[in-house]
């Protein structure tokens, strides 16, 4: 395929990028039953930067995994754009992840045998697609990786590795980027850099991002914060700041 035929997501801020409808995830059976998600319904708007927060075991990671097609719901639906991924087969799910989603994990984001550049273009390489060169250059500049492109992950610092992960998540211009504690494993300076790159692409290019975090500072970069506890949504905050998030967390905790 060539660059001209690749699906291009318009940078629009209307409509829903992802939606969970009456989503439940149950582990175990009988006595040992654990409801990680309990009939959750939530929409994520296009072009919005949403943080999902909540204490350990609140189901925030499970929600992210199910939204991203990494895990399957016990009941309910997940719709990405207008595609219901709930019933998709493994092969189709893989293609959805590859072509429409971007990922940033907390640790181990990169393939150690590939260079930074190869890691960034990995999803497109897997699809057998050429990257949009212009966009790629831009992403590389945004995360400031140009001098490090030929390096392997082992030759990069933790912060640099996470920036490569951010670049990879953005490089294929996915409909949604899912980030799971992207700053959990780097120092605060590097974390701040990564978070500002992310909000920059939301602001400048209308990128949709859904991020799980337990860090109020990180959540403060988002346009909206969804609070989870015991598998249900307990609060929803628009235009948060680190302080308002902290405030809300204290209330929920108390």
């Amino acid at each position: 395929m060539t660059a001209t035929t690749q699906p291009v997501t318009p940078p629009t801020s209307t409509g829903t990028a992802a939606r969970a409808v009456d989503a439940s995830k149950v582990y175990g059976q009988g006595e040992a039953e654990v409801r990680a998600l309990d009939h959750i319904s939530v929409d994520f708007a296009r072009g919005q930067y949403t943080a999902i927060m909540g204490p350990s075991g609140s189901g925030k990671s499970t929600l992210l995994h199910c939204l991203a097609g990494l895990d399957r719901l016990t009941s309910g639906q997940v719709v990405l754009g207008d595609l219901d991924i709930t019933q998709l087969h493994e092969k189709e799910l893989t293609r959805v992840r590859r072509d429409r989603l971007g990922f940033i994990f907390q640790t181990f984001n990169l393939i150690p045998t590939l260079t930074a550049l190869e890691n960034i273009t990995l999803p497109m390489a897997l699809a057998g697609r050429d990257p949009d060169q212009e966009w790629l250059e831009r992403v590389i500049d945004i995360v400031g990786l140009r001098p490090r492109l030929k390096h392997r992950p082992s030759e990069l610092s933790g912060g640099q590795q996470q920036r490569v992960a951010v670049a990879r998540a953005l490089a294929s211009r996915p409909e949604i980027v899912f980030a799971d504690e992207p700053t959990g494993n780097v120092d605060s300076k590097a974390g701040a850099e990564i978070l500002s790159f992310m909000s920059q692409v939301v602001r400048d290019f209308g990128q949709t991002i859904v991020m799980v975090t337990h860090d109020p500072v990180a959540a403060g970069y988002a346009g909206r914060v969804v609070f989870l506890a015991d598998g249900t949504i307990v609060d929803d905050l628009t235009a948060p700041t680190a302080d308002s998030v902290l405030d809300r967390m204290r209330k929920l905790g108390g």
């Binding site: 893989t94 590859r98 072509d99 990922f103 150690p112 897997l126």
Partner: protein
């Protein structure tokens, strides 16, 4: 500490089983060989006792000398029977005449195999007590053209008593004639011994077609009741004291001798098979070494933790050894069981070679259990030595520090040690091949082993560049999966190299025998092209068989045939130690049939004590025209021959005498081939059917033109080659397991990586493809290393045997390419299971691992 080790093993049952497979197969191979040979030996020993129950003593000629391990005995005079019969205590005595004959079926096809078990022929023994066989139908042969055959042959040829049977006897006055079947016999409890056919003539006919009138092979004696064998033997010796060259042995000694002869024969097969079992175990030891290295590397933290909480290095060492010991014992026990099953398979393999092994109880001796079992355990423990030492050197700090899982640094020491071992191996190999002096086989085997080990040690040094090179086309062909496969193959050179090394051994040997066989075929072809001038050749079929000279007369009688000249080969002794064979043919016409490339002298003018020798013999013995050569024959003793001609055709053996000289000095006059020369202007194709008609009665020989003669020689080599391929298969299978286990362990290490790849969009088939291509790179690396070694071995052996007529080094490109392709297929096969496992990894488990 023991508890930790045992729990460790139990926790990793799966891995222990995988590791064991390599040893299981090797031990099974070894045990199978031992079980099979023990079983056959016992069957034969029982048979030998059964058929000789009535034999108290045997009178025969003393052995003149041994040639090719066989005693050369003359016939004795039948007239001695009277003397023997008069000895006190002799109840019965019979003339024993033994030779070879082919039984031909009603359809004109030979019932006696042309390869494998022979067609044995005897004089019918009128004394039932001394007879090795018993009649199951009909009666004894009484007329000159009466015959008795074994039940197996009768059944196979649908012969019943009263039928006319065509029998072709091998010896001087033998030939193909019709006989009347008067009886059918069984040999002990079996229809025929090991698939050999049995023919019994009357005494007179037997002497005529198998020995010579008045001459017998031996005289068999049965003692009267109450006469001891030893007493009888000493009385016989006393009675025959005046007869020069006669010896008497007891019945027990005769049985023992037969058993020993069979043991010797079987010993060759056993040793041959054991060599391949040892190769399989060697490959297995590489796999074990590799598996232990990887698993210990993966357990570095665990080891360090144990060290940190106070385990001594010795204890760690012991715990790894214990794991190896348990693995070895489990594998050996399973292998022993498998060996019993495998014995049946090997039996079938021998059956395919023409040796029917009678059914009998499977014999599993304590010796087999100890030999195969202990070998398995020792190999396993020895292979774990280095990994265990490495484990014991883990510093306690590794428990808390994030140390590299496996050192990938390549030391200069490795390079030096590898080079030294390889050089020693090459040296030992070349000394064995070219150096002369004893223990050639040992030097070659040791050399080959050291070369394999040396290259295996060196492997990691060039594993990375080699994998890069082999995988070079992959990124273009397979995109990112190809790139990942290549990078994965390159990331741990030690692992890649030692995995490949297991395959290298099998491929090296396959490559070596392929090149050797190809060179041998090419050399034989070129020798035939250079030397064969006859229009046709009758080529003897089967081992130890001969063509009765009557074939010459019958072919010569065919219209259009000018001459049919036989070539005779017999054992001689020259000086003390050598046991060469001498060849004889009609030297007045040999130039027209076979180009000996005479350099000095003239073959046609050679007299009754004239000798022609090969150039290289002349050189090594410092003989020239006129040299006196003392030759010893079984029949006539020592005679001095004079070198009268020197030739340089290596395809013709080293010593040639004239036909009259051969006739004078050898008892049996029979050919190993017959050269046919047609009259000038005769169309060879037109004469052929008439000659074929003669040959139809002689399954001993096959009529061939030059092309067919070459093809027949090539076929023999190919058959042996295929057998060796089949036996090396075990080593290859073990290597496939080795690659599979390594990949599985590597995948276990890369769980998170694979999870990440799957998360960002790698499909399952792409995961499988990545593993598969990594496997192919490793397999091709092993294949190429093996090929290089195989080519070197082949070259060395061909050079070493140049003086034996192996003068063409042939590297068959087609077959070598096929070998490389097979190497790639090995990679795909080995990856099958690990690739599936990798593709099935749960993404969430993989990315959530912390």
């Amino acid at each position: 500490m023991w508890k930790v080790a045992i729990k460790g093993i139990l926790a990793k049952k799966f891995r222990v089983v995988l590791t064991s497979v390599a040893i299981v197969l090797g031990v099974a191979f070894m045990a199978g060989t031992l079980v099979l040979s023990d079983t056959i030996t016992r069957t034969f020993d029982t048979l030998a006792v059964q058929v000789n129950t009535g034999l108290s003593a045997t009178v025969r000629a003393k052995s003149a000398f041994k040639a090719q391990g066989q005693d050369q005995r003359n016939w004795i005079d039948a007239s001695l029977l009277d003397t023997v019969k008069q000895v006190k205590g002799v109840q019965a005595a019979s003339l024993d005449v033994a030779g070879q004959a082919f039984i031909i079926g009603k359809d004109g096809k030979s019932i006696t195999k042309t390869t494998g078990a022979p067609g044995l022929a005897f004089a019918w023994d009128p004394n039932a007590t001394l007879r090795a066989v018993h009649l199951v139908a009909g009666g004894a042969p009484t007329q000159a053209n009466d015959v008795v055959i074994d039940k197996h042959s009768a059944d196979k040829g649908h012969y019943v008593v009263g039928d006319q049977v065509r029998i072709s006897a091998n010896a001087t006055n033998g030939g193909s004639d019709l006989y009347r079947l008067t009886g059918i016999v069984k040999f002990g409890s079996v229809d025929s011994p090991l698939g050999a056919t049995l023919t019994f003539f009357t005494q007179d006919t037997a002497q005529r077609v198998l020995t010579a009138p008045g001459k017998v092979t031996s005289i068999d004696v049965a003692a009267s009741p109450g006469t001891d064998q030893t007493v009888l033997v000493s009385r016989l010796r006393a009675a025959l004291a005046g007869q020069p060259g006669i010896e008497v042995i007891s019945g027990q000694a005769a049985v023992k001798e037969q058993q020993d002869q069979f043991q010797t024969f079987l010993g060759f097969i056993k040793k041959f098979l054991l060599v391949f079992a040892i190769i399989a175990l060697l490959v297995g030891s590489f796999v074990i070494y590799n598996t232990f290295s990887i698993t210990i590397a993966q357990r570095t933290r665990e080891m360090a933790l144990l060290r940190a909480i106070g385990a001594a290095r010795r204890q760690l060492l012991a715990s790894v050894f214990l794991e190896a010991l348990v693995t070895g014992i489990v594998a050996s026990v399973i292998g022993l069981g498998g060996g019993v099953l495998l014995a049946a398979g090997l039996k079938a393999l021998l059956g395919g070679l023409g040796f029917d092994i009678p059914a009998g109880g499977t014999v599993v001796t304590v010796g087999t259990i100890l030999t195969a079992g202990l070998t398995g355990v020792v190999v396993t423990v020895a292979a774990s030595l280095f990994p265990a030492l490495r484990a014991s050197r883990v510093p306690p700090i590794a428990a808390i520090r994030d140390v590299a899982i496996e050192s990938t640094k390549l030391s200069r020491r490795r390079l030096i040690v590898g080079l030294v071992i390889t050089a020693l191996g090459v040296f030992s190999l070349l000394r064995g091949l070219f150096g002369g002096g004893g223990q050639t086989g040992l030097k070659i085997a040791l050399g080959a082993l050291l070369v394999f080990v040396g290259v295996a040690v060196l492997g990691p040094v060039f594993a990375r560049p080699a994998a890069r090179l082999i995988g070079a086309p992959l990124p273009r062909l397979k995109g990112v999966t190809g790139n990942l496969a290549r990078e994965n193959a390159m990331r741990n050179p030690k692992r890649t190299a030692s995995t490949a090394a297991a395959l290298m051994i099998g491929v090296g040997l396959v490559g070596f025998v392929t090149i050797f066989a190809s060179s041998a075929t090419a050399s034989v072809n070129s020798a035939i092209d250079q030397s064969m001038k006859a229009d046709y050749i009758v080529n003897v079929q089967g081992f130890n068989t001969t063509l009765p000279p009557r074939i010459e007369t019958e072919i010569a009688a065919v219209p259009g045939v000018e001459r049919a000249v036989g070539l005779r080969i017999g054992p001689i002794k020259i000086g003390g130690s050598v046991e060469p064979q001498v060849q004889a043919t009609d030297l007045t016409i040999v130039d027209q049939l076979f180009d000996l490339q005479v350099k000095q002298g003239s073959l046609g003018k050679m007299g009754p004590t004239g000798l022609a020798i090969d150039k290289k013999v002349a050189k090594s013995r410092h003989w020239k025209i006129g040299s006196q050569v003392p030759m010893q024959f079984a029949l006539t003793g020592r005679t001095t021959f004079t070198v009268e001609a020197i030739y340089s055709q290596p395809a013709f053996g080293s010593y040639v005498i004239s036909l009259p000289a051969y006739q004078k000095n050898f008892a049996t006059q029979a050919d190993t081939s017959v050269f046919v020369k047609l009259k000038p202007g005769v169309d060879a194709l037109a004469v052929r059917p008439s000659i074929e008609k003669v040959m139809k009665n002689y399954p001993q020989g096959d009529l061939q033109n030059r092309a067919e003669f070459k093809a027949a020689q090539a076929k023999q080599i190919t058959q042996l080659l295929n057998l060796i391929y089949a036996l090396l298969l075990m080593a290859i299978i073990i290597a496939v397991f080795g690659i599979g286990v390594t990949l599985a362990l590597s995948i276990f290490e890369r769980t998170r990586e694979i999870g990440l790849l799957r998360a960002v969009g790698m499909s399952r088939s792409q995961v499988r493809s990545t593993v598969r291509w990594e496997s192919v790179i490793i397999a091709l690396f092993g294949t190429l290393l093996g090929l290089i070694i195989g080519i070197f071995f082949g070259w060395a052996l061909v050079k070493a045997l140049a003086s034996e007529g192996l003068n063409v080094l042939s590297l068959p490109p087609g077959r070598l390419i096929v070998l490389v392709i097979l190497g790639a297929i090995v990679g795909i096969l080995a990856a099958w299971w690990p690739a599936r496992r990798a593709a099935k990894l749960d993404i969430l488990d993989a990315i959530a691992t912390e």
